[in-house]
Amino acid sequence: MASIDIKSEITGTVWQVKAKPGDKVESGDTLIVIESMKMEIPVITEDAGTVTEIRVKAKDPVAEGQVVAVIEG
Protein backbone atom coordinates (compact mmCIF):
# COMPACT_ATOMS: atom_id res chain seq x y z
CA MET A 1 0.00 0.00 0.00
CA ALA A 2 1.33 3.35 -0.96
CA SER A 3 0.05 6.88 -1.20
CA ILE A 4 -0.25 7.86 -4.87
CA ASP A 5 -0.57 11.46 -6.06
CA ILE A 6 -3.03 11.97 -8.87
CA LYS A 7 -2.00 14.94 -11.00
CA SER A 8 -3.75 17.01 -13.62
CA GLU A 9 -2.04 16.44 -16.95
CA ILE A 10 -3.06 19.82 -18.20
CA THR A 11 -3.64 23.45 -17.21
CA GLY A 12 -7.33 24.37 -17.08
CA THR A 13 -10.35 24.76 -14.83
CA VAL A 14 -12.08 22.10 -12.76
CA TRP A 15 -15.41 21.34 -14.39
CA GLN A 16 -16.62 18.35 -12.36
CA VAL A 17 -15.46 16.44 -9.31
CA LYS A 18 -16.58 12.85 -9.72
CA ALA A 19 -14.97 11.12 -6.74
CA LYS A 20 -14.92 11.71 -3.00
CA PRO A 21 -12.74 10.50 -0.14
CA GLY A 22 -13.52 6.91 0.71
CA ASP A 23 -14.46 5.92 -2.86
CA LYS A 24 -12.92 2.71 -4.16
CA VAL A 25 -11.45 3.28 -7.62
CA GLU A 26 -10.15 1.03 -10.38
CA SER A 27 -7.40 1.67 -12.93
CA GLY A 28 -8.91 3.86 -15.64
CA ASP A 29 -11.54 5.54 -13.45
CA THR A 30 -12.13 9.28 -13.85
CA LEU A 31 -11.80 11.25 -10.61
CA ILE A 32 -12.12 14.82 -11.86
CA VAL A 33 -12.89 16.50 -15.19
CA ILE A 34 -10.87 19.52 -16.27
CA GLU A 35 -12.07 21.99 -18.89
CA SER A 36 -9.15 22.94 -21.10
CA MET A 37 -8.68 23.82 -24.77
CA LYS A 38 -12.50 23.75 -25.14
CA MET A 39 -12.54 20.08 -24.17
CA GLU A 40 -13.61 18.02 -21.17
CA ILE A 41 -10.42 16.29 -20.14
CA PRO A 42 -10.59 13.59 -17.45
CA VAL A 43 -8.11 13.10 -14.63
CA ILE A 44 -7.74 9.34 -14.56
CA THR A 45 -6.10 7.04 -12.05
CA GLU A 46 -3.75 4.40 -13.42
CA ASP A 47 -3.83 2.55 -10.11
CA ALA A 48 -6.63 0.94 -8.14
CA GLY A 49 -7.15 2.04 -4.56
CA THR A 50 -9.18 4.17 -2.20
CA VAL A 51 -9.51 7.93 -2.57
CA THR A 52 -8.08 9.65 0.51
CA GLU A 53 -8.09 13.29 -0.63
CA ILE A 54 -9.73 15.47 -3.26
CA ARG A 55 -7.85 18.76 -3.31
CA VAL A 56 -9.93 20.81 -5.76
CA LYS A 57 -13.52 21.91 -6.28
CA ALA A 58 -15.52 22.97 -9.32
CA LYS A 59 -14.27 26.14 -11.06
CA ASP A 60 -10.83 25.99 -9.40
CA PRO A 61 -7.97 26.76 -11.78
CA VAL A 62 -5.42 23.93 -11.97
CA ALA A 63 -1.89 23.87 -13.32
CA GLU A 64 -0.23 21.09 -15.27
CA GLY A 65 1.28 18.61 -12.82
CA GLN A 66 -0.78 19.88 -9.86
CA VAL A 67 -1.84 17.17 -7.42
CA VAL A 68 -5.63 17.20 -7.47
CA ALA A 69 -6.32 13.98 -5.57
CA VAL A 70 -4.54 11.33 -3.53
CA ILE A 71 -5.34 7.65 -3.43
CA GLU A 72 -4.09 4.85 -1.25
CA GLY A 73 -3.37 1.89 -3.46
Binding site: I10, S36, M37, K38, G65
Partner: protein, 511 residues
Amino acid sequence: MAHEALLKEYEARRAKALAGGGAEKYAKRKAAGMWNARERIDYLVDKDTFIESGLFGSSGVYAEQADETQTDGKLAGFGKIDGRDVCLVVNDFTVKGASTSATNSKKIAHMKRTATERGMPLVVIGESTGARLPDAMGSRGMGQLLGNDVTQFRRLRETPMCAAAIGPSFGSSTWLMCQADFAVMQKGAVVAVSSPRLVSMALGEKVSADDLGGWRLHAEVTGLVDQVVDREEEVFDAIKRFLSYMPSHHMEAPPDAPVPGGSGADMDKVFSVLPESRTQVYDMKRIIRALADKDTLFEIKPRFGKSAVVGLARLGGKSVGIVANNPLHRGGALDADACRKIVDFLVLCDSFNVPIVLLVDTPGFQIGTEAERAGAPGKIMNFMNAITLVTVPHLSVIIRKSYGRAYVCMGGGRHSDDIAAWPTAEVSFMSPEFATNIVHGVGVGEPGFEEALADIRKGADVWGLAAVYAAQAVLRPEHTRDYLIRMLDVFKLRITKGVGQHLMRSWPTSY
Protein backbone atom coordinates in the same frame (compact mmCIF):
# COMPACT_ATOMS: atom_id res chain seq x y z
CA MET B 1 42.77 -44.71 -17.19
CA ALA B 2 44.19 -41.30 -17.96
CA HIS B 3 41.15 -40.58 -20.13
CA GLU B 4 38.84 -41.66 -17.36
CA ALA B 5 40.55 -39.33 -14.89
CA LEU B 6 40.18 -36.46 -17.34
CA LEU B 7 36.49 -37.16 -17.78
CA LYS B 8 36.07 -37.34 -14.03
CA GLU B 9 37.68 -33.95 -13.67
CA TYR B 10 35.49 -32.64 -16.46
CA GLU B 11 32.35 -33.78 -14.65
CA ALA B 12 33.52 -32.35 -11.34
CA ARG B 13 34.31 -28.97 -12.90
CA ARG B 14 31.04 -28.97 -14.79
CA ALA B 15 29.02 -29.69 -11.65
CA LYS B 16 30.80 -26.90 -9.82
CA ALA B 17 30.22 -24.43 -12.65
CA LEU B 18 26.55 -25.34 -12.86
CA ALA B 19 26.22 -24.76 -9.11
CA GLY B 20 27.06 -21.05 -9.60
CA GLY B 21 27.35 -19.27 -6.28
CA GLY B 22 26.40 -22.43 -4.40
CA ALA B 23 23.35 -24.32 -3.21
CA GLU B 24 22.86 -22.10 -0.18
CA LYS B 25 22.53 -18.91 -2.20
CA TYR B 26 20.21 -20.60 -4.69
CA ALA B 27 18.02 -21.85 -1.84
CA LYS B 28 17.84 -18.37 -0.35
CA ARG B 29 16.66 -16.94 -3.65
CA LYS B 30 14.10 -19.68 -4.05
CA ALA B 31 12.75 -18.90 -0.58
CA ALA B 32 12.49 -15.23 -1.61
CA GLY B 33 10.52 -16.27 -4.71
CA MET B 34 13.28 -15.36 -7.17
CA TRP B 35 14.42 -17.62 -9.96
CA ASN B 36 18.08 -18.36 -10.50
CA ALA B 37 19.80 -17.66 -13.80
CA ARG B 38 19.39 -21.17 -15.19
CA GLU B 39 15.70 -21.28 -14.33
CA ARG B 40 15.32 -18.01 -16.22
CA ILE B 41 16.97 -19.49 -19.30
CA ASP B 42 14.81 -22.63 -19.08
CA TYR B 43 11.66 -20.54 -19.06
CA LEU B 44 12.82 -18.20 -21.83
CA VAL B 45 14.06 -20.59 -24.50
CA ASP B 46 12.46 -23.56 -26.25
CA LYS B 47 13.07 -26.86 -24.46
CA ASP B 48 16.57 -28.31 -24.83
CA THR B 49 17.77 -25.58 -27.19
CA PHE B 50 20.25 -23.79 -24.91
CA ILE B 51 23.91 -24.19 -25.81
CA GLU B 52 26.12 -22.55 -23.23
CA SER B 53 29.15 -20.52 -24.19
CA GLY B 54 31.74 -20.08 -21.44
CA LEU B 55 30.50 -22.49 -18.79
CA PHE B 56 34.05 -22.91 -17.52
CA GLY B 57 34.85 -19.20 -17.41
CA SER B 58 35.95 -17.56 -14.18
CA SER B 59 37.68 -14.38 -13.01
CA GLY B 60 40.06 -13.08 -15.65
CA VAL B 61 41.72 -10.75 -13.14
CA TYR B 62 42.44 -12.95 -10.12
CA ALA B 63 43.27 -16.59 -10.96
CA GLU B 64 43.00 -17.44 -7.27
CA GLN B 65 39.29 -16.52 -7.36
CA ALA B 66 38.48 -19.33 -9.80
CA ASP B 67 36.40 -21.23 -7.23
CA GLU B 68 34.27 -18.26 -6.25
CA THR B 69 33.68 -16.91 -9.75
CA GLN B 70 31.91 -19.75 -11.54
CA THR B 71 30.99 -18.68 -15.09
CA ASP B 72 32.31 -15.28 -13.95
CA GLY B 73 28.75 -14.45 -12.95
CA LYS B 74 27.14 -14.09 -16.35
CA LEU B 75 25.76 -17.01 -18.36
CA ALA B 76 26.01 -16.69 -22.12
CA GLY B 77 24.90 -18.83 -25.00
CA PHE B 78 22.48 -19.58 -27.80
CA GLY B 79 18.90 -20.77 -27.68
CA LYS B 80 15.71 -20.68 -29.68
CA ILE B 81 12.59 -18.67 -28.90
CA ASP B 82 9.53 -19.88 -30.82
CA GLY B 83 11.89 -21.79 -33.07
CA ARG B 84 14.13 -18.82 -33.91
CA ASP B 85 17.76 -18.51 -32.79
CA VAL B 86 18.74 -15.88 -30.23
CA CYS B 87 21.91 -14.94 -28.35
CA LEU B 88 21.57 -14.70 -24.58
CA VAL B 89 23.35 -13.17 -21.62
CA VAL B 90 21.74 -13.95 -18.27
CA ASN B 91 23.32 -12.61 -15.10
CA ASP B 92 23.86 -14.95 -12.15
CA PHE B 93 23.54 -12.72 -9.12
CA THR B 94 24.83 -15.47 -6.80
CA VAL B 95 28.32 -15.05 -8.24
CA LYS B 96 29.77 -11.78 -6.97
CA GLY B 97 26.47 -10.01 -7.60
CA ALA B 98 26.88 -10.66 -11.34
CA SER B 99 29.31 -7.76 -11.34
CA THR B 100 31.12 -6.95 -14.56
CA SER B 101 34.74 -8.01 -14.94
CA ALA B 102 37.18 -9.23 -17.56
CA THR B 103 35.94 -12.70 -18.52
CA ASN B 104 32.22 -11.95 -18.47
CA SER B 105 32.82 -8.81 -20.56
CA LYS B 106 34.37 -11.06 -23.21
CA LYS B 107 31.31 -13.30 -23.04
CA ILE B 108 28.94 -10.37 -23.55
CA ALA B 109 31.07 -9.04 -26.40
CA HIS B 110 31.06 -12.43 -28.13
CA MET B 111 27.28 -12.73 -27.85
CA LYS B 112 26.74 -9.22 -29.14
CA ARG B 113 29.16 -9.67 -32.02
CA THR B 114 27.68 -13.02 -33.02
CA ALA B 115 24.12 -11.70 -32.80
CA THR B 116 25.07 -8.71 -34.94
CA GLU B 117 27.11 -10.53 -37.56
CA ARG B 118 24.89 -13.58 -37.92
CA GLY B 119 21.51 -11.88 -37.59
CA MET B 120 20.01 -13.02 -34.31
CA PRO B 121 18.20 -11.04 -31.61
CA LEU B 122 20.23 -10.37 -28.45
CA VAL B 123 18.54 -10.86 -25.08
CA VAL B 124 20.23 -9.67 -21.88
CA ILE B 125 18.70 -10.40 -18.49
CA GLY B 126 20.03 -8.01 -15.88
CA GLU B 127 20.41 -8.21 -12.15
CA SER B 128 23.73 -6.79 -11.11
CA THR B 129 25.67 -4.74 -8.62
CA GLY B 130 27.65 -2.92 -11.32
CA ALA B 131 31.37 -3.07 -12.04
CA ARG B 132 33.31 -5.62 -9.96
CA LEU B 133 35.58 -4.15 -7.32
CA PRO B 134 38.47 -4.10 -6.82
CA ASP B 135 38.92 -5.46 -10.39
CA ALA B 136 38.14 -2.11 -11.99
CA MET B 137 39.86 0.02 -9.38
CA GLY B 138 42.86 2.20 -10.08
CA SER B 139 44.39 3.26 -13.33
CA ARG B 140 45.57 -0.26 -14.11
CA GLY B 141 42.10 -1.70 -13.48
CA MET B 142 40.45 0.98 -15.58
CA GLY B 143 42.95 0.55 -18.38
CA GLN B 144 42.48 -3.20 -18.37
CA LEU B 145 38.70 -3.38 -18.07
CA LEU B 146 36.97 -0.31 -19.43
CA GLY B 147 36.56 1.00 -22.93
CA ASN B 148 38.72 -1.45 -24.85
CA ASP B 149 35.83 -2.58 -27.05
CA VAL B 150 34.40 0.31 -29.05
CA THR B 151 31.46 -1.82 -30.18
CA GLN B 152 30.30 -2.49 -26.60
CA PHE B 153 27.78 0.32 -26.60
CA ARG B 154 27.57 0.97 -30.32
CA ARG B 155 24.01 0.48 -31.54
CA LEU B 156 23.29 0.27 -35.23
CA ARG B 157 20.16 -1.82 -34.78
CA GLU B 158 21.20 -4.69 -37.02
CA THR B 159 19.23 -7.06 -34.76
CA PRO B 160 16.54 -6.51 -32.14
CA MET B 161 17.88 -6.22 -28.60
CA CYS B 162 15.83 -6.93 -25.48
CA ALA B 163 16.89 -6.17 -21.93
CA ALA B 164 15.30 -6.95 -18.60
CA ALA B 165 15.84 -5.68 -15.07
CA ILE B 166 14.97 -8.01 -12.22
CA GLY B 167 16.04 -7.01 -8.72
CA PRO B 168 18.91 -4.51 -8.34
CA SER B 169 20.25 -3.76 -11.82
CA PHE B 170 23.02 -1.21 -11.48
CA GLY B 171 25.90 -0.61 -13.86
CA SER B 172 25.87 -2.55 -17.11
CA SER B 173 22.33 -3.84 -16.54
CA THR B 174 21.08 -0.26 -16.44
CA TRP B 175 23.16 0.79 -19.47
CA LEU B 176 21.85 -2.15 -21.50
CA MET B 177 18.23 -1.36 -20.53
CA CYS B 178 18.73 2.11 -22.01
CA GLN B 179 20.23 0.74 -25.21
CA ALA B 180 17.69 -1.99 -25.83
CA ASP B 181 14.90 -1.87 -28.39
CA PHE B 182 12.66 -3.35 -25.70
CA ALA B 183 13.30 -2.87 -21.97
CA VAL B 184 11.13 -4.64 -19.41
CA MET B 185 11.30 -4.26 -15.65
CA GLN B 186 9.80 -6.26 -12.85
CA LYS B 187 8.30 -4.27 -10.00
CA GLY B 188 10.89 -4.20 -7.23
CA ALA B 189 13.83 -3.92 -9.64
CA VAL B 190 16.07 -0.86 -9.51
CA VAL B 191 17.48 0.78 -12.64
CA ALA B 192 19.89 3.56 -11.72
CA VAL B 193 23.39 4.90 -12.28
CA SER B 194 24.39 4.19 -8.69
CA SER B 195 23.03 2.63 -5.52
CA PRO B 196 21.25 4.51 -2.70
CA ARG B 197 24.32 3.75 -0.55
CA LEU B 198 26.71 5.58 -2.85
CA VAL B 199 24.23 8.43 -3.29
CA SER B 200 24.02 8.75 0.47
CA MET B 201 27.81 8.77 0.86
CA ALA B 202 28.49 11.18 -1.98
CA LEU B 203 25.60 13.60 -1.62
CA GLY B 204 24.26 13.01 1.85
CA GLU B 205 20.92 12.37 0.15
CA LYS B 206 18.77 9.73 1.83
CA VAL B 207 16.71 8.07 -0.83
CA SER B 208 14.98 4.72 -1.12
CA ALA B 209 15.95 2.38 -3.94
CA ASP B 210 12.44 2.72 -5.31
CA ASP B 211 12.56 6.51 -5.44
CA LEU B 212 16.03 6.40 -6.98
CA GLY B 213 15.29 3.92 -9.74
CA GLY B 214 12.03 2.08 -9.16
CA TRP B 215 9.41 1.05 -11.69
CA ARG B 216 7.11 4.02 -11.19
CA LEU B 217 9.92 6.49 -11.89
CA HIS B 218 10.86 4.76 -15.14
CA ALA B 219 7.34 3.99 -16.30
CA GLU B 220 5.91 7.44 -15.62
CA VAL B 221 8.73 10.00 -15.47
CA THR B 222 11.85 8.93 -17.37
CA GLY B 223 10.18 6.70 -19.96
CA LEU B 224 13.33 4.57 -20.02
CA VAL B 225 11.39 1.35 -19.53
CA ASP B 226 8.96 0.03 -22.13
CA GLN B 227 6.91 -2.26 -19.92
CA VAL B 228 6.60 -3.03 -16.22
CA VAL B 229 5.38 -6.40 -14.99
CA ASP B 230 4.45 -7.86 -11.61
CA ARG B 231 5.80 -11.39 -11.79
CA GLU B 232 9.09 -12.80 -12.97
CA GLU B 233 7.64 -15.07 -15.65
CA GLU B 234 5.91 -12.05 -17.16
CA VAL B 235 9.36 -10.54 -17.85
CA PHE B 236 10.15 -13.44 -20.15
CA ASP B 237 6.65 -13.61 -21.63
CA ALA B 238 6.99 -9.93 -22.58
CA ILE B 239 10.35 -10.53 -24.28
CA LYS B 240 8.98 -13.48 -26.26
CA ARG B 241 5.94 -11.49 -27.27
CA PHE B 242 8.05 -8.48 -28.37
CA LEU B 243 10.29 -10.71 -30.49
CA SER B 244 7.26 -12.33 -32.13
CA TYR B 245 6.61 -9.02 -33.96
CA MET B 246 10.25 -8.60 -34.98
CA PRO B 247 12.42 -10.06 -37.74
CA SER B 248 15.57 -11.84 -36.56
CA HIS B 249 17.63 -9.09 -38.19
CA HIS B 250 17.16 -5.89 -40.17
CA MET B 251 17.61 -7.42 -43.60
CA GLU B 252 14.39 -9.42 -43.48
CA ALA B 253 10.70 -8.66 -43.00
CA PRO B 254 8.97 -9.53 -39.72
CA PRO B 255 7.32 -12.97 -39.59
CA ASP B 256 3.60 -13.37 -40.36
CA ALA B 257 1.19 -14.92 -37.89
CA PRO B 258 -2.22 -16.54 -38.31
CA VAL B 259 -5.15 -14.13 -38.00
CA PRO B 260 -6.98 -14.94 -34.75
CA GLY B 261 -10.68 -15.78 -34.99
CA GLY B 262 -12.92 -12.84 -34.11
CA SER B 263 -10.52 -10.26 -35.58
CA GLY B 264 -12.46 -7.28 -36.90
CA ALA B 265 -15.65 -8.39 -35.17
CA ASP B 266 -16.04 -5.04 -33.40
CA MET B 267 -15.64 -2.93 -36.52
CA ASP B 268 -19.37 -2.47 -37.02
CA LYS B 269 -19.49 -0.64 -33.67
CA VAL B 270 -16.23 1.29 -34.02
CA PHE B 271 -17.84 4.60 -34.98
CA SER B 272 -19.82 4.61 -31.73
CA VAL B 273 -16.55 4.91 -29.76
CA LEU B 274 -16.38 8.50 -30.97
CA PRO B 275 -18.58 10.89 -28.95
CA GLU B 276 -20.85 13.02 -31.13
CA SER B 277 -19.85 16.10 -29.15
CA ARG B 278 -16.41 17.28 -30.22
CA THR B 279 -15.74 18.63 -26.72
CA GLN B 280 -15.83 15.11 -25.30
CA VAL B 281 -12.93 12.70 -25.30
CA TYR B 282 -12.65 8.94 -25.72
CA ASP B 283 -10.04 6.21 -25.37
CA MET B 284 -8.24 5.69 -28.69
CA LYS B 285 -7.15 2.24 -27.48
CA ARG B 286 -10.72 1.05 -28.04
CA ILE B 287 -10.41 1.98 -31.72
CA ILE B 288 -6.96 0.38 -31.97
CA ARG B 289 -8.23 -2.86 -30.42
CA ALA B 290 -11.14 -2.98 -32.87
CA LEU B 291 -8.84 -2.36 -35.87
CA ALA B 292 -6.02 -4.74 -34.96
CA ASP B 293 -6.10 -8.52 -35.14
CA LYS B 294 -7.79 -9.75 -31.97
CA ASP B 295 -5.68 -9.32 -28.80
CA THR B 296 -2.52 -8.41 -30.71
CA LEU B 297 -1.94 -4.89 -29.35
CA PHE B 298 1.36 -4.89 -27.41
CA GLU B 299 1.61 -1.42 -25.97
CA ILE B 300 4.96 0.27 -25.35
CA LYS B 301 5.41 2.79 -22.51
CA PRO B 302 1.71 2.85 -21.54
CA ARG B 303 2.22 5.19 -18.56
CA PHE B 304 4.55 7.68 -20.29
CA GLY B 305 3.54 10.51 -22.65
CA LYS B 306 0.00 9.16 -22.52
CA SER B 307 -1.52 11.54 -25.05
CA ALA B 308 0.16 9.24 -27.55
CA VAL B 309 -0.33 5.49 -27.76
CA VAL B 310 2.37 3.43 -29.46
CA GLY B 311 2.46 -0.31 -29.75
CA LEU B 312 3.10 -3.32 -31.91
CA ALA B 313 0.11 -5.17 -33.28
CA ARG B 314 -0.94 -7.23 -36.29
CA LEU B 315 -3.24 -6.42 -39.15
CA GLY B 316 -4.27 -9.38 -41.28
CA GLY B 317 -1.44 -11.38 -39.68
CA LYS B 318 1.28 -8.81 -40.51
CA SER B 319 3.30 -6.93 -37.88
CA VAL B 320 2.48 -3.23 -37.71
CA GLY B 321 3.45 -0.38 -35.44
CA ILE B 322 0.54 1.73 -34.25
CA VAL B 323 1.17 5.42 -33.56
CA ALA B 324 -1.96 7.12 -32.28
CA ASN B 325 -3.06 10.21 -30.43
CA ASN B 326 -5.18 9.52 -27.38
CA PRO B 327 -7.75 12.24 -26.67
CA LEU B 328 -8.38 10.64 -23.26
CA HIS B 329 -5.18 12.30 -22.08
CA ARG B 330 -4.58 16.04 -22.59
CA GLY B 331 -7.30 15.90 -25.22
CA GLY B 332 -4.69 14.28 -27.46
CA ALA B 333 -2.33 17.28 -27.33
CA LEU B 334 1.23 16.04 -27.84
CA ASP B 335 3.68 17.06 -25.12
CA ALA B 336 7.46 16.59 -25.10
CA ASP B 337 7.18 13.09 -23.55
CA ALA B 338 4.63 11.96 -26.13
CA CYS B 339 6.87 13.26 -28.95
CA ARG B 340 9.86 11.37 -27.56
CA LYS B 341 7.82 8.19 -27.20
CA ILE B 342 6.64 8.43 -30.81
CA VAL B 343 10.10 9.19 -32.21
CA ASP B 344 11.64 6.23 -30.34
CA PHE B 345 8.92 4.02 -31.75
CA LEU B 346 9.33 5.28 -35.32
CA VAL B 347 13.04 4.46 -34.97
CA LEU B 348 12.18 0.93 -33.82
CA CYS B 349 9.66 0.25 -36.59
CA ASP B 350 11.76 1.72 -39.38
CA SER B 351 14.90 -0.09 -38.23
CA PHE B 352 13.17 -3.47 -38.24
CA ASN B 353 10.94 -3.16 -41.30
CA VAL B 354 7.67 -2.91 -39.40
CA PRO B 355 5.04 -0.89 -41.35
CA ILE B 356 3.33 1.92 -39.43
CA VAL B 357 -0.28 2.99 -39.06
CA LEU B 358 -0.91 6.48 -37.67
CA LEU B 359 -4.31 7.22 -36.12
CA VAL B 360 -4.86 10.95 -35.79
CA ASP B 361 -6.95 12.90 -33.31
CA THR B 362 -4.93 15.75 -31.88
CA PRO B 363 -5.65 19.44 -31.25
CA GLY B 364 -1.93 19.95 -31.87
CA PHE B 365 1.22 20.13 -29.84
CA GLN B 366 0.87 21.03 -26.18
CA ILE B 367 1.31 24.75 -25.62
CA GLY B 368 2.00 26.64 -22.39
CA THR B 369 4.90 27.33 -20.06
CA GLU B 370 5.35 23.69 -18.98
CA ALA B 371 5.63 22.58 -22.58
CA GLU B 372 8.21 25.22 -23.43
CA ARG B 373 10.23 24.41 -20.31
CA ALA B 374 10.29 20.77 -21.41
CA GLY B 375 11.91 21.84 -24.69
CA ALA B 376 8.81 21.16 -26.77
CA PRO B 377 10.10 22.84 -29.97
CA GLY B 378 13.16 20.57 -30.03
CA LYS B 379 11.08 17.46 -29.47
CA ILE B 380 8.58 18.54 -32.14
CA MET B 381 11.34 19.04 -34.70
CA ASN B 382 12.85 15.66 -33.83
CA PHE B 383 9.43 14.19 -34.54
CA MET B 384 9.19 16.15 -37.78
CA ASN B 385 12.64 14.97 -38.83
CA ALA B 386 11.90 11.37 -37.87
CA ILE B 387 8.68 11.14 -39.88
CA THR B 388 10.59 12.31 -42.98
CA LEU B 389 13.12 9.51 -42.42
CA VAL B 390 10.56 6.70 -42.20
CA THR B 391 11.11 4.35 -45.14
CA VAL B 392 8.72 1.54 -44.23
CA PRO B 393 5.13 1.70 -45.49
CA HIS B 394 3.18 4.16 -43.36
CA LEU B 395 -0.50 4.99 -43.58
CA SER B 396 -2.47 7.70 -41.77
CA VAL B 397 -6.11 7.70 -40.79
CA ILE B 398 -7.51 11.02 -39.57
CA ILE B 399 -10.19 10.07 -37.06
CA ARG B 400 -11.12 13.52 -35.83
CA LYS B 401 -8.92 16.55 -35.16
CA SER B 402 -5.67 17.24 -36.95
CA TYR B 403 -4.30 20.70 -36.41
CA GLY B 404 -1.22 22.73 -37.17
CA ARG B 405 2.27 21.27 -37.25
CA ALA B 406 0.97 18.07 -35.63
CA TYR B 407 -1.06 17.44 -38.81
CA VAL B 408 2.21 17.12 -40.73
CA CYS B 409 4.04 15.12 -38.05
CA MET B 410 1.18 12.61 -37.95
CA GLY B 411 1.63 11.99 -41.66
CA GLY B 412 -0.21 14.90 -43.24
CA GLY B 413 0.62 16.13 -46.74
CA ARG B 414 2.99 13.59 -48.26
CA HIS B 415 4.36 12.42 -44.91
CA SER B 416 2.38 9.20 -45.20
CA ASP B 417 2.11 6.88 -48.18
CA ASP B 418 -1.65 7.20 -48.01
CA ILE B 419 -4.03 9.33 -45.98
CA ALA B 420 -7.57 8.24 -45.30
CA ALA B 421 -10.03 10.23 -43.22
CA TRP B 422 -13.25 9.51 -41.40
CA PRO B 423 -16.20 11.81 -42.14
CA THR B 424 -15.61 13.27 -38.66
CA ALA B 425 -12.17 14.59 -39.65
CA GLU B 426 -11.52 18.26 -39.11
CA VAL B 427 -8.27 19.76 -40.31
CA SER B 428 -7.03 23.28 -39.94
CA PHE B 429 -4.17 25.40 -38.71
CA MET B 430 -5.72 25.69 -35.25
CA SER B 431 -8.86 24.82 -33.30
CA PRO B 432 -11.93 26.64 -34.74
CA GLU B 433 -12.74 28.48 -31.48
CA PHE B 434 -9.32 30.09 -31.32
CA ALA B 435 -9.15 30.64 -35.07
CA THR B 436 -12.49 32.49 -34.94
CA ASN B 437 -11.10 34.83 -32.33
CA ILE B 438 -7.90 35.48 -34.23
CA VAL B 439 -9.24 35.61 -37.79
CA HIS B 440 -12.52 37.49 -37.09
CA GLY B 441 -11.49 39.32 -33.92
CA VAL B 442 -14.56 38.17 -31.98
CA GLY B 443 -14.48 36.23 -28.70
CA VAL B 444 -16.82 33.64 -27.21
CA GLY B 445 -20.21 35.24 -26.34
CA GLU B 446 -19.62 38.36 -28.46
CA PRO B 447 -22.02 39.27 -31.28
CA GLY B 448 -21.26 37.42 -34.49
CA PHE B 449 -19.08 34.76 -32.82
CA GLU B 450 -21.38 31.78 -33.44
CA GLU B 451 -21.84 32.63 -37.14
CA ALA B 452 -18.11 33.17 -37.62
CA LEU B 453 -17.37 29.91 -35.76
CA ALA B 454 -19.80 27.94 -37.95
CA ASP B 455 -18.10 29.35 -41.03
CA ILE B 456 -14.60 28.43 -39.79
CA ARG B 457 -15.77 24.94 -38.80
CA LYS B 458 -17.23 24.26 -42.21
CA GLY B 459 -13.93 25.19 -43.76
CA ALA B 460 -12.23 22.53 -41.61
CA ASP B 461 -14.36 19.58 -42.70
CA VAL B 462 -13.09 16.49 -44.49
CA TRP B 463 -14.30 17.47 -47.95
CA GLY B 464 -11.79 20.27 -48.37
CA LEU B 465 -8.99 17.81 -47.70
CA ALA B 466 -10.43 15.25 -50.11
CA ALA B 467 -11.07 17.86 -52.81
CA VAL B 468 -7.41 18.83 -53.03
CA TYR B 469 -6.28 15.17 -52.77
CA ALA B 470 -4.59 15.75 -49.39
CA ALA B 471 -6.74 12.82 -48.27
CA GLN B 472 -6.74 9.98 -50.75
CA ALA B 473 -9.85 8.37 -49.32
CA VAL B 474 -12.78 9.19 -47.07
CA LEU B 475 -13.84 6.04 -45.26
CA ARG B 476 -16.90 4.74 -43.57
CA PRO B 477 -15.32 3.99 -40.17
CA GLU B 478 -16.37 0.32 -40.20
CA HIS B 479 -14.37 -0.22 -43.42
CA THR B 480 -11.11 1.04 -41.91
CA ARG B 481 -9.63 -2.33 -40.94
CA ASP B 482 -10.19 -3.88 -44.36
CA TYR B 483 -8.89 -0.72 -46.04
CA LEU B 484 -5.67 -0.71 -43.99
CA ILE B 485 -5.00 -4.42 -44.61
CA ARG B 486 -5.45 -3.88 -48.33
CA MET B 487 -3.35 -0.69 -48.42
CA LEU B 488 -0.50 -2.24 -46.40
CA ASP B 489 -0.37 -4.82 -49.17
CA VAL B 490 -0.55 -2.17 -51.91
CA PHE B 491 2.31 -0.19 -50.38
CA LYS B 492 4.52 -3.12 -49.36
CA LEU B 493 8.20 -2.89 -50.28
CA ARG B 494 8.16 -5.38 -53.16
CA ILE B 495 11.51 -4.45 -54.62
CA THR B 496 13.44 -4.98 -51.38
CA LYS B 497 11.27 -7.84 -50.06
CA GLY B 498 9.94 -5.73 -47.21
CA VAL B 499 13.27 -4.23 -46.14
CA GLY B 500 13.42 -0.47 -45.57
CA GLN B 501 16.40 1.87 -45.71
CA HIS B 502 16.95 2.16 -41.91
CA LEU B 503 17.84 5.83 -42.04
CA MET B 504 17.36 6.12 -38.27
CA ARG B 505 19.27 3.00 -37.26
CA SER B 506 21.88 4.97 -35.33
CA TRP B 507 19.39 7.44 -33.84
CA PRO B 508 20.07 7.70 -30.09
CA THR B 509 16.85 7.03 -28.21
CA SER B 510 16.42 7.07 -24.40
CA TYR B 511 17.05 10.80 -24.01
